[in-house]
């Protein structure tokens, strides 16, 4: 099948490409990149994307699909649908499922579930069996089955000695250990520790709980020569630690979630559990540090930490409600509105953070705009202004603080695996 995309600005920083052109795609492969006369290919379906930009398909390296074990909140399919709707053609999903992704069977199950979907689903394997922090998970076997990285996300790896061994072991396959940085003994609070938490009377988590474990990860990665990736970085001091470590040449990378460069702990004042996540919303100085970190490259990418929870789960007392918000369908909008349109990041940087760097960290191939390459695109209308409406979300869960938020910039279509998502519909191309 042939489709023509007209009037696109093709932007791929990996190729130093910024080009106005039409694109002809045949059976999912890029056939021509040039100005096309639609009358020549009368069979082709034509999409007029004048004024839109086309970037390599976006990749979210931190999502939680609740399958197996929590299918009421999200499944691999519903999560992938949400990803496509949000403009993503690839995701990496975390292993805190039930059972955990600590065996080749579960890795294969998830990959199998996602077969035939537009979105590429890459499982992240657990670091320890069951994520219990008692013994190493069979990382070599998980890697061979298709895992692209390892994490005990939900918690940090239980002991320094286990993390050390994991970093050493993962060196054999050049895979990163993705750390949820939170000191176990300082954890358990419901919001960030500051004068706001004192006023609200809620138990709190200090930023130093994150900083300590970030430091542990950096030092162990430095010592062993292994690769560590800091998940959902949120604290100013942590950003500074990563910055210093990178200068020293440590193999450390970091991601930040959109809510950590958009919201502060002031939002918790209404006790709405849709503002409750871990790490919690921090103070303005932390938000500013995250944005600076994104600007100077300390923070390599943006990842949503998409964490679906059912309504009944979230409709609990603030201290009992589970942590997490969905984020696949607000991520691009927030990034463009808060960072691009406010002049904090260039468009190239946005593409790096959302499409290129996540793949590099996980050793995945970068989509290229070349004849003969698989078509893996996200088509964005940078100036489209709208209000995010949860009604139209493809996710099974509704736990977002951004319902009704005004955003500027949206994904219009995504193309991958010979499929296209456009106008709320999947179609084969």
């Amino acid at each position: 099948m042939e489709i023509i995309l007209k009037g696109l600005r093709l932007l791929n920083p990996e190729q130093n490409l910024d080009l106005l052109s039409d694109v002809l795609i045949k059976d999912g492969i890029i056939d021509k990149i040039e100005n096309l006369d639609a009358s020549q290919n009368s069979d082709a379906k034509v999409f007029d994307f004048s004024g839109k930009i086309c970037v390599p398909g976006l990749f979210d390296m931190h999502v939680h699909f609740r399958e197996p074990g929590g299918e009421d909140k999200e499944t691999v399919i519903s999560g992938s649908n949400s990803a496509a709707s949000g403009g993503f053609t690839g995701v990496a999903c975390m292993p805190n499922t039930n059972p955990a992704i600590d065996s080749a069977e579960v890795v294969k199950f998830i990959i199998d579930r996602a077969k035939g979907h537009l979105v590429d689903v890459n499982p992240i394997g657990a670091v320890t069996k069951g994520r219990k922090g008692e013994g190493l998970a069979p990382m070599l076997e998980l890697y061979d089955a298709g895992a692209v990285g390892f994490s005990d996300d939900g918690t940090a790896v239980k002991t320094a000695s286990l993390l050390r061994n994991a970093l050493e072991y993962a060196k054999m396959i050049d895979s990163p250990i993705i750390e949820h940085c939170e000191d176990e003994s300082l954890a358990g609070g419901s919001m960030n520790e500051s004068f706001v938490s004192t006023e609200l009377g809620l138990p709190s988590i200090p930023t130093v709980a994150e900083d300590l474990v970030v430091m542990r990860g950096i030092l162990l990665a430095e010592y062993t020569g292994g690769k560590i990736h800091i998940a959902h970085i949120s604290s100013k001091r942590s950003v500074e630690l990563v910055r210093e470590a990178k200068i020293r040449g440590v193999d450390v990378t970091a991601e930040a979630a959109p809510h950590h460069f958009t919201l502060t702990d002031e939002c918790v004042r209404n006790f709405d559990t849709n503002y409750k996540m871990n790490p919690p919303l921090r103070q303005q100085k932390d938000v500013d540090a995250i944005i600076e970190g994104l600007q100077d490259g300390t923070i390599d990418c943006i990842a949503s930490d998409h964490a679906p929870h059912s309504i009944e789960d979230k409709e609990l007392e603030y201290i009992y409600a589970p942590n997490g918000i969905i984020g696949l369908e607000t991520q691009l909008g927030l990034t463009l509105t808060e960072l691009y349109h406010k002049g904090k990041l260039t468009l190239e940087q946005v593409v790096e953070k959302l499409a290129l760097n996540p793949r590099k960290i996980l050793n995945l191939e970068i989509p290229l705009f070349e004849v003969g390459e698989k078509a893996n695109f996200t088509i964005i209308d940078l100036d489209y202004e709208y209000k995010f409406d949860i009604k139209y979300s493809k996710s099974k869960s509704k736990n977002t603080p951004f319902n009704g938020r005004e955003l500027k910039g949206k994904s219009i279509a995504v193309i991958n695996n010979s499929k296209m998502y456009f106008d709320g519909q999947f179609q084969n191309i």
Partner: protein
């Protein structure tokens, strides 16, 4: 020709001539083991104490047999049920034993450095039967003897030690001994089991067993200590076997002529498959027999050495 030292504490600084002498002398003793009467009167009247503070059956048995076949008098001392369990210090125990006039002490201890300490507090000749993760010289010697017996030489041979190198005194003794004799030594195992500084030893590191097998003539396969390592350094025995286990398929695919050694006891199905453990590539039982001969040679060379 005699050994340059009055003790055998390790293979680290043992000169090539000494190793050569021990290996050559062991040939004679290997022949004695084939006789109907496996005894020679050489060490008659000598008293040897087997001071085993760390448990061992095979090594102690091997040493005891070697001593008896040389007609020496042997005494066994283990930590449990002894004065040590009554709180006597190691030094006092040794001094007491020595006061009963013994000629040689064969010692195994979980703390590295004990054999060296013994040379300072005792007048007996000391043989190290394994100290912590430091050295196990008679194992290194019997491994070299077995390789040489089968292949005909050690110089220029490519030998790879496979397994938990970081906890292995067998690995260290093998590295020292083989390098002294001119072999090229490498190691192979998951990165969590390879200790610091292998490059400083001049030892190449492999993390891929197929590559290690293809590029080496001999594999010395170490035992995985299941109790200690599973979950901690390696996820599981199953993953270790899948990625580092020596199987017949791997031998045929990578190097059909490769020689397999193992210091024992074997974990069948973990570091080697049953088929390999019983197959024609391995010389594991030869190692056991040669072990007695090597120990006889060491006891002979030290026991009959005059104090010059």
């Amino acid at each position: 020709m005699s050994l340059s030292s009055n003790h055998l504490l390790g293979l680290k600084d043992v000169p090539k001539e000494d190793i050569q002498l021990i290996l050559d002398t062991a040939i004679t003793f290997r022949e004695v083991l084939e006789r109907p009467i496996k005894k020679v009167p050489t060490l008659q009247g000598k008293t040897i104490v087997n001071l085993f503070y760390e448990n061992s059956t095979r090594t102690r048995l091997s040493f005891e047999l070697a001593q008896k076949r040389l007609s020496a008098d042997t005494i066994n001392f283990s930590k449990s049920g002894s004065s040590a369990s009554k709180g006597e210090s190691f030094k006092d125990t040794v001094k007491n034993i020595e006061a009963m006039k013994v000629d040689m002490i064969v010692c195994r201890h979980e703390s590295a450095g004990i054999p060296k300490y013994l040379t300072q507090i005792s007048n007996a000749k000391i043989i190290n039967a394994g100290d912590g993760r430091h050295e196990h010289p008679t194992q290194g010697l019997l491994d070299m003897y077995s390789i040489r017996e089968k292949v005909g030489k050690l110089e220029g041979l490519n030998v790879c030690i496979v397994g938990d190198i970081s906890h292995s005194r067998v690995a260290l003794s093998n590295i020292y001994g083989l390098q002294t004799m001119g072999a090229n030594v490498s190691v192979c195992g998951p990165s969590t089991m390879i200790p610091w500084g292998m490059e400083d030893f001049g030892v190449k590191v492999y993390n891929n067993i197929d590559k290690a097998m293809a590029e080496n003539d001999v594999l010395n396969v170490l035992r995985i200590q299941l109790e200690r390592d599973a979950g901690v350094l390696i996820p599981s025995v199953r993953e270790y076997h899948n990625y580092f286990g020596i199987t017949q398929e791997r031998i045929e695919k990578n190097n059909p002529n490769i020689l397999i050694l193992h210091p024992g006891p074997i974990n069948r199905g973990v570091e080697v498959s049953s088929e390999v453990a019983d197959g024609s590539s391995q010389i594991i039982l030869n190692q056991v027999t040669n072990g007695v001969a090597i120990r006889m040679a060491v006891l002979y060379l030290l026991g009959t050495k005059s104090e010059e």
